[in-house]
Amino acid sequence: MISIYITSFIVGGLICVIGQLLMDVAKLTPAHTLCTLVVTGSILDGFGWYEPLIDFAGAGATIPITSFGNALTHGALAEAEKHGLIGVVTGMFEVTSSGISAAIIFGLIGALIFTSKGNI
């Protein structure tokens, strides 16, 4: 049981290291870095390699943004398996809705409660 914590720490950390290298070595902006990782996650799921990583690392694979791409592809593929080509479009948000809806809801709540501060 302990081992899932260690694998999640290490795998999550390593995905972030890839992100840091994209920013520092490849000189990508944060936005470009995140987009690259999302696309990578979605391609990995196309090969069926991301799910095993989630089984191995738990939150270490589901918390990084790569899992967002994975989940989108996964939803699309699951629907496509059931309904054919049209499922590719309809199934996309089947799995990922939680991240986006949470971001929208908490974004609005955050805006209601907080004001930005120019502190350091």
């Binding site: 999550g12 390593l14 995905i15 890839i18 987009c35 918390i63 790569t66 967002f68 908490f106 974004g107």
Partner: protein, 151 residues
Amino acid sequence: MEQEKYAHLEKELSPKTPILKNVIRAFLTGGLICLIGQFIALFYITYFNFTERTASNPTVATMIFISMLLTGFGLYKKISQFGGAGAAVPITGFGNAVVSAAIEHKSEGYVLGVGGNMFKLAGSVILFGVFSAFVVALIKTLLVKFGVVSW
């Protein structure tokens, strides 16, 4: 002085990016955030009817909630300054991008400000996530149809 010569001089004098230090910090910060996510997932698995697979949804939502609090209290930017990609890559970084834009544009009103700018930073992640998922799923579905690969 010519541009090339100046670029050379500038590169020589400007401080180098401390890549190793940044990488170690990103590893620790990102790892820690994922570890916290794992604990939250365990909480949902143990006390609610979620399996390892289904627990990731409430875990992600909870992480974004935490990210909202950290962003609102002005702490997330400090974590990011320390952790770099370690704070940007986890879903909390996505939450931070959405929440910070929403908070910042409150002064322009809730419709044009918050509504119009909320996805200013995070929108591209959604766009490219959705589009790449579409392409990948389309290719795979077609390949399955033609019998090249199986599900």
